[in-house]
C-alpha cells in the first residue's frame, strides 16, 4: 500500500494504524481472505463442493458422510469461527453504495439483505452437515434428510442474493459518481438471474437442473465466480480512487505519476 522506508512489518503496522484508508483496506483484505478461506474450506477441507448428487440412495449418502467425517466437523468448525468475516465485507459493499450519488436506502438495504443471507445460505447448511456427521450411528433416513436439508439450504437460498444483486445493480446504473463502471451493473443482472436458474434444484432429484446439475450448479458457479472476481477488483479500484468527498470519484492518475501510490503524505 505504501512505499515508506522501513521493514515490511513495521511498514504494515504503521499503515494499519495511520493509513487514511485503513478502514477501507481492512475491509477489502477481509473480503479477499474470506473468499480464499471459503474456497479452501468448502472445496478442499469439508469437500461439500462440488456438491454430492441428490440422486443417491441412503447408503451412499451415509457412506459420503463417513468418508468426510473429520473434514466436515473440523472444516465447519473453522467456518463457524471465521464466518463473522463477512460482516466487514458486506459493510464495504454497502459503503460503495454510500459513496454513490444514490439514497442511503440502497446501502442499508444491501447490508441487511446480505447479512441475513449468510444464515440460510451458509450457517444452516453448516449446522445440518455438522449434525449429519456428528453421529454416524444415527438412523440413516435421518442422515439422508440432513443431507437434503444442507444442500438445499445452500443452493436454494435465492431471494436475498437475487434482490441484493438487483439493489446494487440499480444503484450502480443510476449513480453519477462513477463508483463502478456500468458494465458491472449489467453483470449484476446476470448474477441475479443465476438465482432464478437455481430454483429447479428444489424440484429435481437428478439431471441438469438438480442441485449438482450442469445448469443449476456448474454454469451458475462460473457466473458467480466471474461476478465475485470483478467486484473484488473493482472495489480495490474504488478504494484507490477514494477521495472521501461526495462528488464524482476521481480517476486514477496514470501509472507513471503513481510511483508513490497513495503514500500518506500526499493524502493529507
Amino acid at each position: 500500500m505504501s512505499t515508506r522506508a522501513g521493514s515490511p512489518v513495521g511498514r504494515f503496522l504503521w499503515n494499519f494504524r495511520n493509513h487514511p484508508k485503513r478502514e477501507l483496506w481492512f475491509a477489502w483484505w477481509v473480503m479477499v481472505i474470506f473468499y480464499q478461506l471459503y474456497g479452501v474450506l468448502f472445496f478442499l477441507v469439508t469437500r461439500v463442493q462440488p456438491p454430492a448428487s441428490p440422486a443417491w440412495d441412503t447408503p451412499m449418502v451415509v457412506q459420503w458422510f463417513n468418508d468426510r467425517h473429520f473434514g466436515l466437523l473440523a472444516g465447519f468448525g473453522v467456518v463457524f469461527l471465521i464466518s463473522g468475516l463477512c460482516a466487514p465485507m458486506n459493510a464495504l459493499l454497502a459503503y460503495s453504495m454510500r459513496r454513490m450519488s444514490v439514497s442511503r436506502v440502497f446501502g442499508y438495504s444491501y447490508l441487511i439483505m446480505y447479512s441475513l443471507s449468510a444464515i440460510p445460505g451458509m450457517f444452516v447448511m453448516a449446522i445440518a452437515m455438522t449434525v449429519g456427521a456428528l453421529r454416524p450411528d444415527r438412523d440413516s433416513e435421518l442422515i439422508h434428510w440432513l443431507f437434503d436439508f444442507a444442500f438445499l439450504s445452500f443452493s436454494g437460498t435465492m431471494g436475498v442474493f437475487m434482490i441484493g444483486s438487483l439493489v446494487w445493480l440499480v444503484a450502480i446504473l443510476i449513480d453519477k459518481n462513477g463508483v463502478f463502471p456500468k458494465w458491472f451493473g449489467y453483470l449484476g443482472l446476470c448474477n441475479a438471474l443465476t438465482e432464478v436458474v437455481v430454483a429447479p434444484a428444489w424440484i429435481f432429484q437428478r439431471g441438469v437442473f438438480a442441485w449438482n446439475g450442469a445448469i443449476a450448479w456448474w454454469i451458475n458457479m462460473v457466473v458467480f465466480v466471474t461476478y465475485t472476481v470483478c467486484f473484488i477488483v473493482l472495489l480495490r479500484k474504488m478504494i484507490e480512487r477514494e477521495d472521501f468527498g461526495t462528488g464524482p470519484l476521481p480517476d486514477l492518475p496514470p501509472k507513471a505519476e503513481r510511483s508513490q501510490p497513495d503514500s500518506v503524505g500526499s493524502m493529507q
Binding site: R22, L81, C86, P88, L92, L134, R138
Partner: protein, 235 residues
C-alpha cells in the same frame, strides 16, 4: 429541558433483559448441568418427556427476549460512529453482525421447543432435534467473535483527545473473542472441554458472553452519559 431521544430507555432495558435471560437459563433443565452429548437416544427422549414443562416455559421466555441484545449492539454501533474514523465501515459491520446471533439462537430455540412439543415421538427424532438445538446454540459464536474484534479494532483506531472508549475495553473485547473461539469446534468431540457440555464450549463461552454484556453495558452507559453532559443541548 433536553428532548427525550430514548437512548437511555433502550439502555435501561438491558438489566431487565439480563434478569429474564438469567431466570430462563436456570429454568431450562438442560443448562445448569448441561446435557451431555453422550446421552443415549432413550435418555434424551426421556429428558424431553420428563421435563417438558420447564423446557417449554424457559424456551418461550428465551423466544420472547432472545433478540433483546440487538439495541445494545446498535447503541455500540452509534458510539463507533462518534469515533475518529474516516468511514462508517466499522459501524456498518457492527450493524451487519447485530442480527446474526439472535437469529441463530432463535433457530436453536425452535428446535428445543419442537423437541418438547411431541415428546412421545420416536426417540431418534427427538435426539436429532436435540442435536440440532445444541449444535446451533453452541456454534452461534461467529458474529459475537466478529463483534468483539471489530469493537477492539474500532477502539484502537479511535485516536482522539477523549476517545469514546478507553483502551482496556479493546483488550477486554479481544479476550472475550478468544474465550468464544473454542466453542466453534464443539462438534469434534463428545467429551472433554470442547464437548458442548464441556468447560470451554459451555462454561467459558457462556460466562464470556455474560461478562461481555455486563462490562460493555457499563462502559456504554458511561459513554452515553458523558456525551449527554458534553452536549447538553442535542441538536
Amino acid at each position: 429541558m433536553r428532548r427525550t431521544d430514548g437512548e437511555l430507555i433502550l439502555f435501561w432495558t438491558l438489566p431487565a433483559i439480563a434478569i429474564i435471560w438469567v431466570s430462563a437459563f436456570f429454568l431450562f433443565p438442560g443448562f445448569l448441568h448441561p446435557m451431555s452429548p453422550t446421552m443415549s437416544t432413550d435418555e434424551v427422549a426421556a429428558f424431553y418427556r420428563d421435563e417438558t414443562a420447564r423446557i417449554r416455559y424457559s424456551m418461550i421466555l428465551f423466544n420472547w427476549f432472545g433478540v433483546g441484545l440487538i439495541p445494545m449492539v446498535i447503541l455500540l454501533a452509534m458510539q463507533v460512529r462518534r469515533m475518529a474514523h474516516r468511514t462508517p465501515i466499522v459501524s456498518y459491520s457492527l450493524i451487519a453482525c447485530a442480527g446474526g446471533p439472535p437469529t441463530l439462537f432463535l433457530i436453536a430455540n425452535m428446535f428445543w421447543l419442537l423437541g418438547s412439543f411431541r415428546p412421545e415421538r420416536s426417540p431418534e427424532l427427538t435426539q436429532l432435534l436435540n442435536d440440532l438445538a445444541w449444535i446451533t446454540f453452541t456454534v452461534l459464536v461467529p458474529y459475537l467473535i466478529a463483534q468483539c474484534l471489530l469493537l477492539a479494532l474500532a477502539i484502537y483506531w479511535d485516536r482522539q483527545e477523549q476517545p469514546v472508549f478507553k483502551m482496556w475495553v479493546a483488550h477486554f473485547n479481544i479476550l472475550v473473542a478468544v474465550a468464544l473461539a473454542p466453542a466453534a469446534f464443539t462438534a469434534l468431540t463428545f467429551s472433554g472441554p470442547l464437548a458442548w457440555d464441556g468447560l470451554l464450549s459451555f462454561w467459558v463461552k457462556n460466562i464470556a458472553i455474560a461478562a461481555w454484556i455486563v462490562v460493555m453495558a457499563v462502559v456504554l452507559g458511561q459513554a452515553i452519559l458523558r456525551r449527554r453532559v458534553e452536549e447538553p443541548v442535542a441538536a
